[in-house]
């Protein structure tokens, strides 16, 4: 994985709470056996009309959304199923960070393994971001800090180990495999 240290981008704002993984990528697209190319199906039922043409009212279809790498959403983003297809679709589309006041547990874990930053912020910061679509924000992973175009900077908690892996382009499996001697000792002690 490529090291990820900073995301600097304009935001696209989806001002809804409880955006579930069935919206991020509907179940009928989960019959794939790979993780590639899911960006086309991102938010499919909101992004496209019944005839398959883009829905001009959906935020990602507006001209100023093009190239935005930061998605700002209402609270409890990514709730629902464990499908990793959700972060795969977001990353394939070009999103590198999701900002909300609350991000669901499994989605957060999956996002961190795919170079997608799940950023939780306080209510006031979230309210400002929701009110200012297209704001140019800076996320500095090393400093664990989000800076708004107003100059306001807020600390954003990111789990220490996931941050270390993201910044150094490391795969968590490598670390886990380095613990195999401990795992073998554990199994031997339990008689497993």
């Amino acid at each position: 994985m490529e090291p990820l240290k900073r995301v600097h981008s304009r935001t696209v704002v989806l001002p809804l709470s409880n955006v579930d993984t069935d919206q991020i990528i509907p179940a009928r697209f989960l019959t794939t056996t790979t993780k590639e190319g899911l960006g086309r199906q991102l938010f499919a039922d909101w992004r496209y009309r019944a005839d398959g043409t883009p829905n001009p009212d959906f935020v990602l279809n507006r001209a100023d959304a093009r190239g935005c790498q930061v998605l700002v959403a209402g609270r409890n983003f990514g709730c629902g199923s464990s499908r990793e297809h959700a972060p795969w679709a977001l990353v394939d589309y070009g999103i590198r960070a999701v900002i909300s006041t609350e991000i669901a547990d499994i989605f957060r874990s999956n996002a961190l393994k795919n170079g997608l930053l799940p950023i939780t912020v306080d209510d006031a910061t979230a309210a400002w971001l929701l009110d200012h679509p297209g704001a140019e924000v800076d996320i500095d992973l090393g400093a664990a800090r989000l800076t708004l175009p107003t100059g306001t900077a807020v600390d954003v908690p990111i789990e220490a180990f996931a941050r270390h892996c993201l910044m150094n382009g490391l795969d968590e499996l490598g670390f886990l495999r380095s613990k195999l001697p401990d795992i073998e000792r554990y199994e031997a002690a339990r008689g497993a």
Partner: protein, 466 residues
Amino acid sequence: MTAHTLFEKVWRAHEVVPETPETPAVLYVDLHLIHEVTSPQAFSVLKSLGLPVRRPGRTLATMDHSTPTASEQVFGNVPIRVDAAAKQVRQLELNAADFGVELFGMRDARRGIVHVISPQLGATQPGMTIVCGDSHTSTHGAFGALAFGIGSTEVGHVFATQCLLQRKPRTFAVNVEGKLPPGVTAKDLILAIIGKVGVSGGTGHVFEYRGSTIRALSMDERMTICNMSIEAGARAGMVAPDEVTFEYLKDKPRAPQGAHWEAAVERWRGLVSDAGAAFDAAVDIDAARLEPMITYGTNPGMVVPISAPIPDIAGDAIYDKALGYMGFHRGDAMLGKPVNVVFIGSCTNGRLEDLQAAARVLKGRKVAPGVRLLIVPGSQQIKADAEAAGLAEIFKTAGADWRESGCSMCLGMNGDTVSAGQYAVSTSNRNFEGRQGVGARTLLASPLTAAASAVRGRITDPRELM
């Protein structure tokens, strides 16, 4: 001595390496369940690294999401309708064979929804850690296991090491006291809990369901409760094992046998939260005051007692959007609303007791004209049991469509879908937009309410038909 919660006891027993500020815990996984949807990418990682499945004996595979429920497709020569689904099923067969993983394939009598078959086999046991690339893995917590859903990358981690990197979650006591009134089921209770806690109230926590109401529930009912923990944001929900648990597991094919059984039960008896153990959060529910519950919106927290009107909430965009999607209005009565489709099944309510409940309502009655009632057992074993008990005959006589097992219309991956704009009363777990088909409108309820609504063709309080 420090008092520990049930969760803490199971967690500590599986810590290979404890967490530090810099690194998560290495947590051992006793049982890894896999299915066709979330495993192929993980097998690909093993192939690319040249790694085996490290502990195939702790891995169990089945196919449930993409599989057809029509008998002629499962057992006959009629192909699976969706090419990609057929390919996914085939890929699991190849991967299971290549990596030496036990698979309950398409025509295996032990096949079924992953969260239904593992308990039935006795593979799910108290005190275990159980994971699966599926959020409803929380179901297995009904046995006092720590069971939670993971993503496909983590499925690969478990394949390669039999472990996961995890931060320790917080604990949340869900205290339920009182006797459930007649016609009010475990499904109504968990919907009420989600309504009270909210769809993200459990985020970062593991629930422990406690109290006299929980103790009085059967294992099928406890599984219904734990299954929907994730719908309140909790990754896992647990119930301390007791005589009900041991009775269920005794003589199951993969439960400990003979002298091992007695030793296991002795060990399992210690899997309770110690008196005075502290929880990070708690909620109290009075079960005696509950009614049958039904959802009106597009997440499981948008739920009301069946006789109540849709609440009038001002200034909430998701509420407005949900009512627009559902075609409902604030203050509408839920009772009497028309129904097009009824689905009885899923890992939430596809077990034998759920089918028995539906049969109590459907016996001697007919499905209302124009209503489609689809009944999908949670496993092939449950299908056989329901047929032996005469339930299938009751369903077919009533006009229901009785199918082979699978996830089916819970998420419509296999082609069992609800058409755009149609109203479906469903015993499944999610009423998200489009969950049961593009434009489908889902109302979550118990098997009793679902069956009663199928008979009347309208949202019906099941107590009127009992």
